[in-house]
């Protein structure tokens, strides 16, 4: 073969280039990822998942949850809202000004000029930053996913197909573990028309003993076991729910900034 050595070198160069771009470059970029500070707070993010939640990731993996659920929230844009905190000493001037200004869905520059104009009129304002996009509008998260979200996970259950909803922030969306357990046992008892298969083998249906189990599911009649029986979650179900509860991507980070919604007043 003519030019055999040149062909060999070209193939080696192509392999090396793709290795460099697909393995080496990401490793250099994110290989040193570590905990990062939460914006405007003294906390760090992420914290390692508690033991049962870390075991739950393996249950998640074993049951192929990632085949139908993603854990990656997309963000299409970012918008600023200017919020009036107090009208100051000249409320009528501020309210006249507010009537003429656009205050929501601004970019950073126009939010700054709007808040400067209100401040000049004596009003006290705050600029709130929020993520926008179809995933955000569905309530699946408050910001896009970042590499730090998966810092303590192995394997990373990113998922690629959305038969079911995204779970990146499910611990904030659906914070009730009892709801999650019942949903695993009988999805359609809670979500009408759900296509999720029931994971009944993560539960045990057994005869009620001397005392009913405190863990027994409180099921509607249609899904309840025969009289005298109760449905109790196995450890795997509890671990899986602990993992789902630990999925929180609701804190603002430098690389995913937003203004967190004000905490509810008691």
């Amino acid at each position: 073969m003519k030019n055999g050595f040149v062909i060999f070198l070209s193939v080696a160069a192509v392999m090396l280039l793709s290795w460099g771009a697909l393995v080496l470059a990401p490793q250099m970029q994110l290989g040193g990822a570590r905990q990062v500070p939460v914006l405007n707070s003294t906390d760090v993010y992420p914290l390692a998942r508690p033991g049962t939640a870390a075991q739950g990731l393996q249950v998640y993996r074993a049951n192929g949850c990632a085949a139908c659920h993603t854990e990656q929230v997309q963000q299409d844009g970012v918008a600023c809202d200017v919020v009036l905190l107090s009208p100051g000493k000249n409320p009528s001037a501020v309210s006249n000004l507010l009537a003429t200004l656009k205050l929501t869905g601004l970019d950073e520059g126009s939010a700054l000029s709007a808040s400067d104009r209100i401040a000049a009129a004596g009003g006290k304002v705050e600029t709130r930053i929020r993520a926008t996009g179809s995933d955000i509008a569905r309530g699946w998260g408050l910001r896009h996913s970042v590499a730090e979200d998966f810092l303590y996970d192995y394997p990373v259950a990113l998922g690629s197909l959305r038969v079911g909803p995204d779970l990146a922030d499910v611990g904030r969306r659906l914070p009730d573990p009892n709801w999650q357990l019942q949903h695993l046992y009988a999805p359609r008892s809670l979500v009408k028309g759900s296509v999720m298969p029931p994971f009944r083998y993560l539960f045990e249906t057994r005869k009620i003993g001397a005392v009913p189990s405190p863990d027994a599911l409180n099921l509607p009649a249609e899904f309840a076991p025969a009289a005298g029986y109760e449905v109790v979650p196995k450890p795997e179900a509890k671990q899986l729910v602990a993992y789902l509860m630990s999925l929180h991507t609701d804190v603002p980070l430098y690389n995913a900034p937003f203004t967190p919604p004000a905490p509810l007043k008691p």
Binding site: Q29, A33, L39, N40, T42, V78, E108, T127, A256, T259
Partner: protein, 199 residues
Amino acid sequence: MSDETPSPKSGTEPTAARSHLPMWTLVVLLTLLYLGGIYFDHHSGWFDRQVYAPFDNAVQLEAYQPKSGAAAALAARKKSYEAVCGTCHGNDGIGKAGQAPQLAGSEYVITRGFNRLAHIPLAGINGPIKVAGKDWNMAMAAMGAALPDADLANILTYIRGSWGNKAGEVTAEDIKAIRASLGARPQAMTAETLQALPE
């Protein structure tokens, strides 16, 4: 099959004839390269690991960091405190043995007013002093003398409102007034002169 081209002589490899690169190919390639450059500029984030999808570059990301609100103000105060005071007084305000007394629960911090507290960073302090039941005999330079009024006010507000301290806010105007009353080269405070001041 009469017009079949004659097969090349066996033993020689066929070669393509050399010809010039057509001009239209060059134009198309350069146009694609140009469009690719624009796309790269908008979507690569210049390979910065902090820059994710909706943001084009690090400058834009920086512009969208939340800057206002109570949480942002607290974070700014904490940062100033840790830069100036935290090394000796501790980022947790409990002080460090042999370096500086505690600020958490200190009787010089949680006073009704902040006159005495403000004098310490503005004028410095030395000599024996008793803080929260412990005796100290050291010197502190006038760490706040070179700080802008607003920064020092932020730091004192942070000290008076953190680690369980629940004293009030300090404003830049207050610091300005105290600084003016001290003059250009104030004498370092001692426990006695500090006690003599109004709260």
